[in-house]
């Protein structure tokens, strides 16, 4: 651990760049944004490289008593680390995706994105309850502006819906936080994670936190803001929304709801399971009938996030690790799918699936990339989603086999709607002349998609790189949850030792030979 405040620096770089971009010309703003996000990517990789696996739980800790009532406390564990790395990895891609697509008010756009990056990293790095809340809430402003200014035709409705839904969820969490701090006298998240709240108080507190994270996640039935926001947001906005903002909900569960209130979490786990399996089946079916590509992927996001909540509330290590991997994988894959939609949207300016068709003929390389991410989203082995979904479902199977059974159908439905989408877009006849005339990927688009392919394969083939940093933290959380863990209906029990039967077989064999 170094004394150098690398986390503060990671927050400061995009913040300063955001101010600089605001006063720059369009071209300069693009460059500033790209450079700043690449610097942050480098810092993020440095963070990953210097993170000591098996070291102290909280690393790169910074603490400064700058404010009254809360402090500037930063620090990360493995869970925060991988999410920060995901954020800084996606940001340059977002800037690249907006390079040509955004033509009006470029400086403000870049400033909003850079500001967003500061807040995202801050949310994952905050070690103070109120600092977390401030950064968590502040993300509403840039996203509201991104959807509202640079969004599609129905952007104003979508931006309001996004803002008010999320705000209503969060304010209840604020009251719960105030109550917690009043009770415990500390705002430090690491301290509170070990604090044993009175069980009867946990229920209301859990519900207040749940209100916020369930909206953010989003869980059925408070997911309806997401399809609107996704469809109307510009491509990069969708990428960051799906890639990182939704993860804040999952991060909230894993950082607050579970360790703060283990008993209440166990008590409400059936509620979460119920909502999640409804989400998996219902949103998958809804995705099946969408005619708008982005809406389809948005609904698929809700379904994937439901797998995450199932894994989180499975109360075992497989489930927790699996949901972390699904979050990371979903960040990469759904981000990539939105980029793929963005590529053809930039050419034809429509998201209607029926306006495309036969793209494999005139855009073979595009079709290849799109195929890859479709398969990844379906959860094909060797891609990232497979690892996470497998672990999550395994985890939930131990807790509730019926839930796992129904959730498992989501994987099949997922294959159905994604392959159906792919067939309609890439295969078949070229029935639209303008779609048939679209050129294949440009160099810029290759540069955006290739890193995502590499990361998805890496996470699918060698997930250890991503699981290793979180393993100790998940184990820690699992130990904390152990006392409250609900009795599962499918506890796997080890079988009888194999050696004995082998020996007796051998004995029998010898006997027969005699």
């Amino acid at each position: 651990m170094t004394g150098f405040p690398i986390l503060s620096l990671m927050l400061a770089v995009p913040a300063v760049a955001a101010v600089a971009a605001l006063f720059a010309s369009a071209g300069a703003a693009r460059t500033i944004a790209l450079v700043a996000t690449l610097i942050d990517l480098a810092l993020g990789l440095d963070l990953w490289a210097n993170y000591q696996i098996g070291g102290p739980q909280w690393q790169f800790v910074e603490h400064a008593q700058l404010f009254s009532g809360f402090s500037w406390a930063l620090g990360i564990d493995g869970i925060a680390l991988v999410l920060i790395v995901l954020s800084v990895f996606l940001m340059p891609i977002c800037i690249g995706a907006s390079w040509d697509a955004i033509e009006k008010r470029v400086p403000e756009y870049m400033a909003a994105f850079l500001f967003m990056e500061t807040l995202m990293i801050g949310v994952f790095a905050a070690q103070d309850l109120f600092l977390f809340y401030i950064l968590f809430e502040a993300g509403l402003i840039p996203m509201y502006l991104i959807i509202g200014i640079w969004g599609g035709a129905d952007r104003i409705y979508a931006s309001y819906k996004f803002f008010l839904y999320t705000l209503l969820g969060s304010v209840l969490m604020l009251i719960a936080m105030l109550w917690i701090v009043n009770l415990t006298g500390t705002t430090s998240i690491p301290v509170l994670m070990e604090y044993n709240f009175p069980v009867q108080a946990q229920y209301l507190l859990w519900l207040a936190f749940f209100a916020s994270f369930a909206v953010k996640m989003p869980m059925w039935p408070v997911h309806t803001w997401l399809p609107d926001a996704h469809v109307q947001a510009p491509t990069a906005g969708s990428v960051i929304l799906a890639g990182v903002l939704l993860k804040m909900g999952g991060y909230g569960f894993i950082r607050f709801s579970l360790p703060f209130f283990p008993e209440a979490s166990a008590y409400f786990a059936p509620l979460v399971w119920g909502l999640s399996i409804v989400a998996v089946v219902y949103t998958s079916l809804v995705a099946l009938v969408q005619s708008d590509m982005k809406k389809l992927i948005a609904y698929s996001s809700v379904a994937h996030m439901a797998i995450v909540t199932l894994g989180l509330f499975a109360f075992n290590r497989q489930g927790l690790e699996g949901s972390m991997v699904v979050m990371l994988a979903h960040g990469l894959v759904s981000g990539a799918l939105f980029l793929c939609v963005g590529v053809i949207y930039d050419r034809l300016h429509t998201r209607e699936i029926s306006r495309y068709g036969g793209l494999a003929i005139n855009m073979p390389y595009y079709a290849l990339f799109f195929m890859f991410f479709t398969m990844a989203s379906v959860g094909l082995p060797a891609t990232a989603n497979f690892v996470g979904e497998f672990l999550s479902l395994q985890g939930i199977y131990k807790a509730s086999s019926w839930t796992a059974l129904i959730a498992g159908t989501g994987i099949i439905l997922g294959a159905a709607y994604m392959l159906y989408l792919y067939r309609r877009v890439a295969f078949g006849e070229q029935k639209n002349a303008d779609a048939a005339a679209m050129p294949d990927l440009t160099v810029r688009e290759y540069l955006l998609l290739t890193p995502l392919v590499i990361a998805t394969l890496w996470m699918g083939i060698y997930p250890e790189s991503f699981i290793a940093p979180i393993r100790a933290d998940i184990a820690h959380l699992d130990a904390r949850l152990a006392a409250a863990r609900p009795a599962g209906d499918a506890q796997v029990t080890p079988g009888h030792p194999v050696a004995e039967t082998h020996e007796s077989a051998e004995h029998n064999g010898e006997g027969s030979e005699k």
Partner: protein
């Protein structure tokens, strides 16, 4: 207690009285030509008065050493905190006035003098520790305010606003006075100290009536629901610099006065007034939020916004703790800065002829033509809505924190959920500024003084403001402690 020490304690008021009278002579002699000069001198007088009251705040003075004129007046740290806010707000609304009135056709030299007398009255209000001082201060402020509201003779709405304000204000003063007389009848004194000690234990019906009438009168002054009806009309009708003034300084004075009356004079009867305060606070939050949604005029919107914000501040009062009082003072300070920022931005909205643009629809696409102005206005809106990382969040935060600490979790929950309704109309303004196609109505340039005030308040409500939280919280706590010292 001697006259010398009493006179020393009221130095700021003496200085303001003399300055006001001298400036009145100057404008009588030199006429409206001297208006600008008188304005600057009035601002200077306010600054000097601020310097005179500051030591009491820094020293955390309270109790007997701050009491003057046999317990009629207190120059304690609480009154100093409020006075500094009042003088600052009055100074800011004086600074923005000349440019506005000169474009409206004639800036009258009486304006700064009246504002000075209003500030003097407000100083008396926040220092009052006797019902009679309270009433004199309140009326001194109100009389000046009625005239200020009717200041613009070229605009029909202005005299209308003045008249409405006068009629309803006199009614409220009458109710307040009736409440004071009842309280005097049952407590046997007009002094806060004596009322505090007299009203212990179960409250008689008569003194309860007195309390209710006093609260009604004060609710009118702070424009809390259901005594808020005058606010949108007066805010809209009064010339914008006057509206800036109304939205800030008298709010501070009336709220500080309400705090002293409830927390100190009726301090032993907290459970009697707490439920009234809870009711008017929730009503103010909800009505302020719902009423604002349909407004097409930005000044009316700001009026409803002020009603809404007063509701949030009253949550701190409902806590009836020193922490609650301190949180109200913090909220008030932030609210004053946000309001000044907002109104200065509104003052800078002018069309090609130099006339004020007040319709929200005319601000469409302002972010294209005037990015700086639109940015600050959007910041003010987000800040008023209490969205972090803007500083307005901190005001709501401390108020809710004190409510939760006092065990008022249901109140805090309902209040904060209702704040989401309020967020809607603030978002609407941001939407008009940023999302809509430009209407290109606003073309006028900004005055230098306006720009300084605008960007100055923008810096305070930006996240930089959080660096001041420790300092501001400390001052507010020392001020609130003075309020509870005698209790």
């Amino acid at each position: 207690m001697n006259w010398a020490s009493s006179l020393r304690l009221v130095a700021a008021e003496e200085f303001l009285s003399v300055s006001g009278l001298v400036l009145l002579l100057v404008c009588a002699w030199a006429g409206d030509k001297s208006a600008r000069l008188v304005t600057w001198l009035a601002v200077a007088a306010l600054a000097v008065a601020g310097v005179l009251v500051a030591p009491a705040l820094c020293g955390g003075v309270f109790g007997a050493e701050a009491s003057a004129f046999y317990g009629q007046y207190a120059a304690d740290s609480f009154s100093s905190f409020a006075k500094l806010l009042i003088y600052g707000a009055a100074g800011a609304s004086l600074l923005v006035a000349p440019g506005f009135f000169e474009r409206q056709g004639g800036y009258r030299a009486e304006y700064p003098v009246l504002a000075l007398f209003a500030a003097l009255g407000m100083g008396l209000m926040v220092s009052a520790t006797d019902m009679l001082t309270l009433y004199v201060g309140l009326e001194m402020n109100s009389l000046a305010a009625y005239v200020l509201a009717a200041m613009s003779r070229s605009d029909d709405r202005s005299p209308e606003a003045g008249l409405k304000y006068f009629v309803l204000g006199s009614l409220a003063s009458g109710i307040l006075l009736f409440g004071i007389s009842l309280t005097y009848g049952f407590a046997g004194s007009t002094s806060f100290d004596a009322i505090h000690t007299a009203l212990v234990g179960k409250m008689s019906t008569g003194s309860l009536f007195g309390l209710v009438f006093i609260l009604v009168g004060l609710s009118f002054k702070i424009s809390a629901v259901p005594f808020h009806m005058w606010t949108p009309d007066v805010y809209e009708g009064a010339p914008t610099p006057v509206t800036t003034f109304f939205a800030t300084a008298p709010k501070v004075a009336a709220l500080a006065l309400t705090m002293r009356v409830t927390l100190f004079a009726f301090g032993m009867q907290a459970q009697a007034w707490q439920q009234i305060v809870v009711a008017i606070s929730l009503l103010s939050i909800v009505v302020g939020a719902l009423g604002a949604i349909g407004q097409g005029n930005i000044k009316r919107l700001m009026a409803y916004s002020s009603i809404n914000n007063v509701g949030f501040m009253l949550i701190g009062l409902a806590a009836a703790t020193p922490g609650g009082a301190a949180s109200m003072l913090v909220y008030l300070s932030i609210y004053v800065v946000m309001s000044i920022g907002g109104f200065v931005a509104i003052l800078s909205l002018r069309d090609a002829e130099g006339n004020s643009v007040e319709k929200i629809a005319d601000l469409a696409g302002l972010s294209r033509s005037k990015p700086g102005l639109a940015f600050v206005l959007a910041m003010v809106m987000f800040s008023l809505a209490g969205i972090p990382p803007l500083f307005g969040f901190w005001g709501k935060f401390v108020v809710f924190q004190s409510a939760v600490a006092a065990g008022l979790v249901p109140l805090a929950t309902v209040g904060i959920a209702a704040s989401v309704i309020g967020a809607f109309y603030y978002l609407k303004v941001v939407k008009v500024l940023y999302f809509d196609e430009p209407a290109d109505k606003v073309v006028g340039s900004m005055d230098g003084v306006h720009a300084v005030l605008l960007y100055g308040s923008a810096i305070v409500i930006s996240p930089i403001g959080y660096l001041f939280t420790g300092w501001l919280g400390g001052l507010a706590q020392s001020a609130a402690a003075a309020l509870f010292h005698a209790a």
